[in-house]
């Protein structure tokens, strides 16, 4: 019975709720209905921290080499105590705020308002509200704790169902539009008047999700084995795998027409960042060179595409031709862009060859910053238009079929993404990839084993730069005009963030990372202001809970656990051996 730690976790959760209230995540979303009018985003935020606290305090602990899980009754008790503490802390803060004067607090914390206080006290006087808060939070904590100690066969369907309902609730601006586009009757699922899911819809979604989860638990292993078996001896393609591939292709092709123009626009941007991520993944993930100036290649790709395909400068009087430009077909220009970017990679790589780690990061950060200064500088106005930028970039048309339309652009970007994934995958599985891995793990030893580290570092910069420049090219095609605002250091940070979030060295990780860091903010426009907060929270959470990334490098994670166990057994045997040997020698 570790009451002290239950209370400690509860206090932290209470402080988290205070923070969430102060930044406005409760007060501003009182009317954001997720399910019916009862489950609102604000209510969810109010009980989120107690839920997490209740779940966290009941985690099994290792004491004296034994894994100890709490008995169900103790666990629910622990969760309730934690939740109640959280609610109490928040309740006290509410009472104190009310006593102090809402308007005085409001002069510093703009989001604190009378409606917020009314909401969190359930319309009661503050003290009564605090008591209700404590009770509600205790129930939430107890529920979360109870969930944790239920057997996995019950717990997993429940969590799957709840997550599915919440996800669909959040996507209320997107899925209904897609359904409408398909002329699909949707009023039973999404309510037109209140925004979120209807209760009927929510129950159906929960039922389907739970059912799928149960099915997955029973048949999933078998199914996965048939779909993803990568055993070398299996020659040819299994029918199940072929089916999966066909479905995947069909989905990829159909997506833009299902989701509509607005989301296709978001997906196009996601694909651009996937290209950037694949490129940076070669530099950081494969070769282990931390590059904080990756926006350099984004800019090189975008501006060289513009110059090669005959874009015009924006000037005060209208438009004018750049000092140097060609009027090439887009597909002729791309190889040249790749070569230019690869040369730029060598240019960046050469001065930083001797640097490692922090120093390399700092110098590349500086080099990346140079590009933003350069494209703005008066010196380059005749070439790239300075702050006014350029317009009229090719829309990469093939036989009159342009790719500027979001739904068309998606296919162009998808094509280049698939190409980049293919190249990157082949490289990683070759002698070159092996040399990069060796270099990343131990540079000096790789050199001593015959890997010319100078050459392979430069190769990584050149390849990473070339693929990243494709992202720039796509961006130029997507919007047709370029201004320096698009080439800030934030691009470098975002791309590095998505590569790390997804899992260094993992191609599926890049895709997932881009969907999370670029796609989600594009979809959840109503949370635009909280983008930075969510971004930071996501990175911190991943680094603590899953430092290898969301979709880590496959082979490593698969083997890790059982190998460790085998090794432990081996070590025990070995210790016994050594003890015997020592016994003999002394």
């Amino acid at each position: 019975m570790d009451v002290r730690s239950w209370i400690r976790v509860g206090i932290i959760a209470g402080i988290v709720t205070i923070f969430l209230a102060l930044v406005g995540l409760i007060g501003r979303f009182v009317d954001l209905n997720l399910v019916g009018e009862q489950v609102t985003f604000a209510r969810l935020v109010l009980i989120a921290a107690p839920l997490v606290a209740g779940y966290a305090v009941t985690r099994p602990r290792i004491r004296a080499g034994e894994r100890r899980a709490l008995a169900p009754r103790d666990a629910i008790m622990a969760g309730a105590v934690s939740g109640a503490t959280a609610g109490l802390v928040f309740g006290i803060a509410v009472v104190a705020a009310d006593a102090f004067g809402i308007d005085r607090i409001r002069s510093v914390f703009l989001n604190v308002s009378q409606p917020l206080i009314d909401f969190v006290t359930f319309g009661q006087p503050p003290v009564v509200g605090a008591v209700i808060l404590t009770a509600v939070s205790a129930v939430a904590g107890g529920l979360a704790a109870g969930l944790r100690v239920t057997p996995i066969a019950v717990r997993r369907p429940i969590t799957t169902a709840v997550s599915a309902v919440l996800v669909l609730g959040f996507l209320q601006r997107i899925i209904p539009i897609a359904l409408d586009q398909l002329n699909f009757e949707r009023d039973w699922l999404y309510s037109r008047s209140i925004g979120g899911l209807t209760w009927l819809g929510a129950i159906l979604v929960a039922g389907v999700a739970a059912g799928l989860s149960v099915l997955n638990a029973r048949k999933g292993r078998d199914l996965r084995a048939r779909l993803f078996s990568t055993r070398e001896e299996s020659t040819g393609v299994a029918p199940a795998q072929l089916g999966l591939a066909l479905v995947l292709v069909a989905v990829l092709v159909a997506v833009p027409w299902v989701v509509g123009e607005v989301i296709s626009q978001v997906l196009g941007t996601v694909l651009i960042y996937v290209l950037l991520g694949i490129g940076l993944n070669i530099v950081v993930g494969y070769a282990g060179l931390l590059d904080l100036g990756y926006v350099f290649f984004y800019a090189v790709g975008a501006y060289s595409t513009a110059l090669l395909t005959g874009a015009a400068l924006n000037t005060f009087t209208g438009s004018g031709p750049p000092a140097v430009s060609l009027d090439l077909n887009f597909y002729l220009a791309i190889p040249i862009v790749l070569v230019i970017a690869a040369c730029a990679g060598l240019l960046i790589g050469a001065p930083v060859l001797r640097l490692r780690g922090d120093y390399l990061a700092l110098v590349t950060l500086g080099l990346g910053e140079m590009v933003t200064v350069l494209v703005r500088s008066p010196w380059l106005v005749p070439l790239v238009g300075g702050p006014n930028g350029m317009r009229g970039v090719s829309d990469a048309a093939v036989a009159g079929f342009g790719f500027r339309e979001p739904q068309h652009f998606y296919y162009l970007a998808l094509g280049f993404v698939l190409l980049a994934i293919f190249v990157s995958w082949r490289l990683s599985a070759s002698r070159i990839g092996r040399a990069w891995t060796a270099m990343r793990e131990d540079e000096q030893t790789a050199e001593a084993m015959g890997v010319n580290t100078t050459r392979f570092k430069l190769l990584a910069f050149a390849m990473g730069g070339a693929i990243g420049s494709l992202g720039g090219s796509m961006f130029a095609v997507q919007i047709g005009s370029l201004t320096p605002q698009s080439f800030e250091v934030t691009v470098s940070i975002l791309v590095l963030g998505l590569v790390i979030l997804g899992g260094l060295g993992s191609l599926p990780g890049v895709v997932v990372g881009a969907l999370v860091l670029v796609g989600l903010p594009g979809l959840l426009r109503e949370f635009e202001e909280y983008r930075g907060l969510a971004y930071g929270a996501a990175l911190v959470a991943v680094m603590i809970l899953r430092p290898q990334g969301l979709v880590p490098n496959v082979r490593r994670s698969r083997e890790l656990q059982e190998e460790e166990r085998a090794q432990d057994e081996w070590a025990l045997e070995k210790e016994a051996d050594v003890a015997v040997v020592e016994g003999i020698s002394t």
């Binding site: 082949r426 002698r431 060796a438 050199e447 001593a448 890997v451 580290t453 390849m463 040997v581």
Partner: protein
């Protein structure tokens, strides 16, 4: 032995770190097919000697010749390509690569397929990969069952300490060296493992014709493997000869006892 040509010649090599002379005017040579041990108290300059030969350090003066050409100023990877390979005093594997991949990295300088071959997976590249894998397996097979079978696919960090040392030697063998430098290969091994490795060093020379220069503290190993022993102290050669000669040399005994007394 003097009729066999010297494979490695170290001529008047000096290397100092600030005021500390790690090597001062060292002359030595290793002839083809020999096993030569380098002994000396801690800080005598043994590992510095290895680092200088393999190009990790450039000497301050003096020259190193390998098979009739000076290798001073070459990069470590170039020296490996010429046929010198090594292990490290503290094991330096690629911990997250598999055992087989570690050995395959050793084949790097014996293969050449580049960007185009990798992306298009040309027939020549595939054939080369097969060859590299075969050579790596062969290098690992030198240690028999110790590094065989399912272990090939294990990440290197899961290996036991002794197996890590063996893998490091196998990786060095995979570079197809003519001269192999072993830096305290038996450190941390138990007596059985040490004996096993002593035999294997013999076998390396006998079966594969590899010339070996080894740093070793365990005098039983030194006695067991060496044709010739060189003793260093303060970066200078203080004795050279058979194990018996060097072991009874007064300066050697003094060097070792001296360190013991001051320790």
């Amino acid at each position: 032995m003097s009729e066999t040509p010297a494979v490695l010649e170290v001529r008047g090599v000096e290397k100092h770190f600030g005021g500390l002379y790690a090597l001062s005017g060292l002359d030595m040579e290793v002839r083809r097919g020999e096993v030569v041990s380098v002994i000396g108290p801690n800080g005598a300059g043994k590992s510095t000697l290895f680092n200088t030969i393999t190009g990790l350090y450039g000497p301050d003066s003096g020259d190193v010749w390998f098979q009739g050409q000076s290798i001073v100023g070459l990069k470590p990877s170039q020296i490996t390509r010429l046929g010198i390979s090594r292990t490290f005093q503290t094991v330096h594997l690629f911990p997250n690569m598999t055992v087989l991949e570690n050995a395959m990295v050793g084949q790097h300088s014996r293969s050449r397929s580049g960007l185009l071959g990798a992306v298009l997976r040309l027939p020549s590249q595939r054939k080369e990969e097969e060859r590299v894998r075969g050579k790596a397996r062969e290098a690992l097979s030198f240690f028999g069952r110790r590094l065989s079978g399912y272990r090939h696919e294990q990440p290197a960090f899961t290996l036991s300490y002794a197996n890590r040392r063996r893998l490091e030697i196998a990786r060095a063998l995979a570079t197809e060296p003519m001269l192999l430098l072993l830096d305290e290969p038996t450190a941390g091994m138990n007596p059985t493992e040490t004996q096993e490795l002593t035999d294997q060093i013999w076998r390396l020379r006998k079966d594969r014709g590899v010339t070996i220069l080894v740093i070793e503290h365990d005098m039983r190993v030194v006695k067991g493997v060496s044709d010739r022993v060189i003793a260093l102290d303060y970066g200078k050669k203080i004795a050279e000869g058979t194990y018996e000669e060097v072991a009874h040399d007064e300066r050697v005994i003094e060097a070792y006892l001296g360190t013991k007394a001051s320790a």
